[in-house]
């Protein structure tokens, strides 16, 4: 589904990604973990095409949905318009169907009563859920989420996790970067650990009962 081959990325002279290679199979959920500045977000941006790698390439067969860490909702549009705007630009799309789909997504995320509100009046968690719903509106084959649970309480984190699992059941591949290890362990099939722009190791929560300990020792090794 997604092939990342020897991708390197520099910002000025700093090597942020160092020959990263990763194959992601269809309908899998891959988590990216690592300390701040390890290259998680840059790798996600390279996958989406927001950054051009200096070397290597990313091959993806399908549409990519991207959820930004800082949401990037359009502040002058209501929640509902944020969701239906891009899909309804295409002539083939039926506006009423788009609205119904958006309302169903907002219902799933428990924020349908905010559909006529502007992003400014939403809490951080609500904005996050709107951003997630908006990226799902374009029916992505691959869903890329950058820190989808930062700033969320446990209950909302679980909601987001459940929603991503449901999306995954629809044959959507999910790549998610997060610092929330419990969230990654519960959600992902594979967790890829990044350190200074390199993949150091991979763990599979379903196969490694001690995943939590492995991740903890990885973070400890960074801080030491």
């Amino acid at each position: 589904m997604l092939k990342i081959c020897n991708v390197s990325k520099y910002f000025n002279d700093v090597k942020v990604l160092d020959e990263i290679s990763l194959h992601v199979t269809r309908a899998s959920i891959v988590g990216l973990a690592g300390h701040s500045g390890s290259g998680k977000s840059t790798l996600l941006r390279c996958i989406q095409g927001l950054e051009t790698p200096e070397s290597g390439h990313v091959d993806c067969c399908g549409k990519i949905g991207f959820m930004f860490q800082d949401f990037q909702l359009f502040p002058h549009m209501t929640v509902l318009r944020n969701l239906v705007y891009a899909p309804t630009l295409k002539k083939k799309t039926n506006k009423m169907q788009s609205i119904a789909k958006a309302e169903a997504l907002l219902n799933d995320l428990g924020i349908n009563e905010k559909k006529d509100a502007y992003p400014e009046s939403l809490s951080g968690g609500q904005k996050q859920r709107v951003a997630l719903a908006r990226s799902l509106m374009i029916d992505p084959d691959v869903m890329v989420c950058d820190e989808p649970t930062s700033g969320l309480d446990i209950a909302t984190t679980n909601d987001v996790s459940a929603l991503l699992k449901r999306v995954n059941k629809l044959n959507v591949t999910i790549i998610v970067a997060s610092h929330d290890l419990d969230f990654l362990i519960k959600l992902c099939d594979r967790i890829v650990l990044l350190k200074f722009g390199k993949i150091t190791t991979e763990v599979s929560p379903s196969q490694h009962a001690e995943t939590s300990l492995l991740l903890k020792s990885f973070y400890d090794s960074i801080s030491n």
Partner: protein, 215 residues
Amino acid sequence: MSKFISNFLYIASGATLTLKILAGSILIGLSLGVLFSILRRHKICKAVVCGVVSVIRGTPTMLQISIVYFTLPSLFGFNLGILATGIIALGINSAAYVSEILRAGIESLPKGQFEAAYTLGVPSFYMWKDIILPQVVMNIFPALINETVTLLKETALIATIGGMDIMRKSQVIAAEKYEYFTPLCTAAFVYYVLVLLIEFMGKKVERKRLYAKNL
């Protein structure tokens, strides 16, 4: 007293030409200003647009009006009326300033707004029309009102090529008896009322937009 009123009405009637030039130049200024600010984001056009904007901002408005009025006929063989000269010269002049205001507004938007549009597959035209420009205009609205006020005052320069605007009409009255104080103060009063009107309408629109946003 009746003389004062008739003089006042004569000077105030110059507002017709002033407002026609203002409306026309706002239209040209905004359209060209938007075009300039979008073109300057393209590598090839950037140098040309920056050069044009720099020259316009770096030369006196009166000189620009004179170039349009006196040199275009000899260069291209057609005469422009005073109204057309005012609209074209002040419109192009305003476009340079509007493009600078817009540039600041566009640069103040988070890069993520462009990226969000890109990731959602929004075509470039719609991105500018529906996502970027509405936000930019909202942010720079007070600066645009300021530019309109400046433009209104600059229309007085049209008097130098014989345009019968507020300024020129006050000079005509003043020249009748070499009495300058009353006619010039009358002109100042008319300009000031127009400026207050623009500011009032600007604030009303701004409040309306803020209210709609915070519903």
